[in-house]
C-alpha cells in the first residue's frame, strides 16, 4: 500500500519524538508569552491615556493583519540590521508570542467587556483601587468567557509552530524535511507529523472544554 515502509517509520520515530518535544516547548513558551503580554495589551487599551490606547490598538491591528511568517522573518533577518541579533529560538518565540498576544488581547477585551457595569460600581462602592478592581473583581469574571477563545489559540499556536522551521528551529516540520531530504523519502515523515499533530490537537481541544467547565464551577458562575 503506497509503498509504506514500516522499518523506516520505526527508524525515524525517535527523531520525530524528539522534535515533538521541541514543538511542544515552542508552543508552550510562545503561549505563555502571549497569555501574559495579551493581558497587558488588553489593559493598556483601557487606560485613560488615549495616546497609549491608540498606539496599542494600531499595533494590534497591524500585527493581526500581517502574516505570522513575515513577522518571524522580520525579527530574525531584519533585526540584525538594527543591531538586534537573536537566535532562531529567541526570534521565533518573540514573533509567535507577540503575534498571538495580539489575538489574545482581543479575547481578553471581549471577556472584560462582558463583565456587567454593576460589578465596577460595586467595586467602587467598596473603595477599591483600579488595580484591585481588575485583580479581584473584573479579571476573575472576564476569564471564564474568554477560556474558549484562549483554548482555540493554544491549539492555533501549536499548529503554527511549523512556521518556525523557516528560520531553522528544529521542530517537527523542520525535522521531517531533514529526514526526507536525507533519505529521499517524504511519505513516512510527513504522514507521521500529521498523525502527531492530530494526536495532540484533538485531546487538547477536549481537555480545554473540560477545564472551562471546571473553572466555571470553581468560581460558582
Amino acid at each position: 500500500m503506497f509503498d509504506w515502509k514500516w522499518d523506516f517509520t520505526w527508524e525515524i520515530l525517535p527523531r520525530l519524538v524528539q522534535a515533538t518535544g521541541n514543538t511542544l516547548l515552542a508552543a508552550l513558551i510562545g503561549y505563555v508569552i502571549a497569555v501574559v503580554l495579551g493581558l497587558i495589551l488588553a489593559l493598556a487599551q483601557r487606560t485613560p491615556y488615549s495616546a497609549l490606547t491608540l498606539i496599542v490598538r494600531e499595533m494590534v491591528e497591524f500585527i493581526r493583519s500581517t502574516p505570522l511568517i513575515l513577522q518571524i522573518f522580520f525579527v530574525f533577518y531584519v533585526g540584525p540590521q538594527f543591531g538586534v541579533r537573536l537566535s532562531p529560538w529567541t526570534s521565533g518565540m518573540i514573533a509567535i508570542g507577540l503575534h498571538y498576544a495580539c489575538y489574545l488581547s482581543e479575547v481578553y477585551r471581549g471577556g472584560i467587556e462582558s463583565v456587567p457595569k454593576g460589578q465596577w460600581e460595586a467595586a467602587t462602592a467598596l473603595n477599591m483601587t483600579v488595580a484591585q478592581k481588575y485583580r479581584r473583581v473584573i479579571i476573575p469574571q472576564a476569564i471564564p468567557p474568554a477560556l474558549a477563545g484562549m483554548g482555540n489559540y493554544l491549539v492555533g499556536i501549536f499548529k503554527d509552530t511549523p512556521m518556525l522551521s523557516v528560520i531553522g528551529v528544529a521542530e517537527l516540520i523542520h525535522t521531517a524535511n531533514a529526514i526526507g531530504s536525507e533519505n529521499y523519502r517524504f511519505l513516512e515523515p510527513y504522514t507521521m507529523v500529521g498523525i502527531i499533530f492530530l494526536a495532540i490537537s484533538l485531546p487538547a481541544a477536549g481537555m480545554i472544554r473540560l477545564f472551562e467547565g471546571y473553572v466555571r464551577r470553581k468560581l460558582g458562575l
Binding site: P116, E121, R136, P140, L219, G220
Partner: protein, 271 residues
C-alpha cells in the same frame, strides 16, 4: 466644572450636616438631571427620596457614591468636600486620591445587588475589609459573620450568589456594605428588583439598621409605606429639584404642592 471659588472650604455648624449638596448640577448633554440641588442630611438621619422616574432621585445617590461626576456645585460629607479638594485656599476638582480618601465614609446598596458572583456570601463581605481596609483575615471574618448573622444570612455564608434568591442576595449586599463601617449608607431602590414576597426580608433589615444603629441613610424607594414608617424626612423630587420635603406624616398626610399631591394619588391608585 463651574466656578466653585465662592463655596465654603468646609461646612460649619454644630453639628455639621453629615451630607451637604450645595447647588449641585448634573446634566447629560442638553438634559439637566439635577438643577442646583441643595440638600442637607444630619448625622443619624434617615432620608427617603421619592418621585417620578427621571426626576433625578437615583442620580443623587450615584453622585454621592462618586459613580457620577457632577457638573456644578460641591458635595460635602462630614463637613469636608467630597467632589472637590482644597488647594491654595480654594476648591479644585477632587483627584482620584482625594476621592478614595473621602469615599471611605460612604457605602451603597444597589437595585441589582451587584454581589461578586465568583465569591461566596462570606467572601463578598470580607473582600472590602481585607483588600481595602487591610484588616487581618480573622478580624474581617468575625466582622463579616457578625453582619451576616444580623441580616439573617449566616446559614448561607458559604453559598455563591447564584444559589441565593434576590432577597437573600440583597441582604448579603447590605452586610457587605456595612462591613466597611461607612458613616453614610445609600440604598438605591433596593427592593425594586425583588419578588413581592421577599421584599419584607430586606425592609426588615433596614428597619433594624434604623432602630439599632446611628447611621446616616439616604434611600431611594418606591415603597411609600415603608418610607413613611422609617424615615425622618421625605424628599419629593420633581424635574431635578426637591419639589417638597418634610416629615413623613406631613408630606404624606398633608402635601402642600400640587405635584406632590398628584404623584401621591397616582401611587395610591397603583397600589
Amino acid at each position: 466644572m463651574h466656578d466653585v471659588s465662592a463655596f465654603p472650604l468646609q461646612i460649619a455648624g454644630d453639628p455639621a450636616p453629615m451630607v451637604s449638596f450645595r447647588k449641585v448640577t448634573k446634566s447629560y448633554g442638553a438634559l439637566t438631571v439635577l438643577d442646583e440641588l441643595d440638600l442637607d442630611v444630619k448625622a443619624g438621619e434617615m432620608v427617603s427620596i421619592i418621585g417620578p422616574s427621571g426626576s433625578g432621585k437615583t442620580t443623587v445617590l450615584r453622585m454621592l457614591m462618586t459613580l457620577e461626576e457632577i457638573n456644578g456645585g460641591v458635595i460635602y460629607v462630614d463637613g469636608q468636600p467630597l467632589t472637590h479638594m482644597q488647594k491654595n485656599g480654594t476648591l479644585v476638582p477632587a483627584s482620584q486620591k482625594h476621592l478614595r480618601n473621602r469615599r471611605a465614609d460612604i457605602g451603597m446598596c444597589f437595585q441589582h445587588f451587584n454581589l461578586f458572583p465568583h465569591m461566596t456570601a462570606l467572601e463578598n463581605c470580607m473582600e472590602g475589609p481585607v483588600q481595602v481596609l487591610g484588616l487581618p483575615k480573622k478580624e474581617a471574618r468575625e466582622r463579616s459573620e457578625e453582619l451576616l448573622e444580623m441580616v439573617g444570612m449566616i446559614g448561607k455564608k458559604d453559598q455563591h450568589p447564584s444559589r441565593l434568591s434576590g432577597g437573600q442576595q440583597q441582604r448579603v449586599a447590605i452586610a457587605r456594605a456595612l462591613a466597611m463601617r461607612p458613616k453614610v449608607m445609600l440604598f438605591d431602590e433596593v427592593t425594586s428588583a425583588l419578588d413581592p414576597e421577599v421584599i419584607g426580608e430586606v425592609t426588615n433589615v433596614i428597619r433594624k439598621l434604623v432602630s439599632e444603629h446611628n447611621l446616616t441613610m439616604l434611600m431611594v424607594t418606591h415603597q411609600m409605606g415603608f418610607a413613611r414608617d422609617i424615615s425622618d424626612r421625605i424628599c419629593f423630587f420633581y424635574g431635578g429639584k426637591i419639589e417638597e420635603q418634610g416629615p413623613p406624616a406631613e408630606l404624606f398626610g398633608n402635601p402642600k404642592k400640587e405635584r406632590t399631591q398628584q404623584f401621591l394619588s397616582a401611587v395610591k391608585e397603583a397600589v
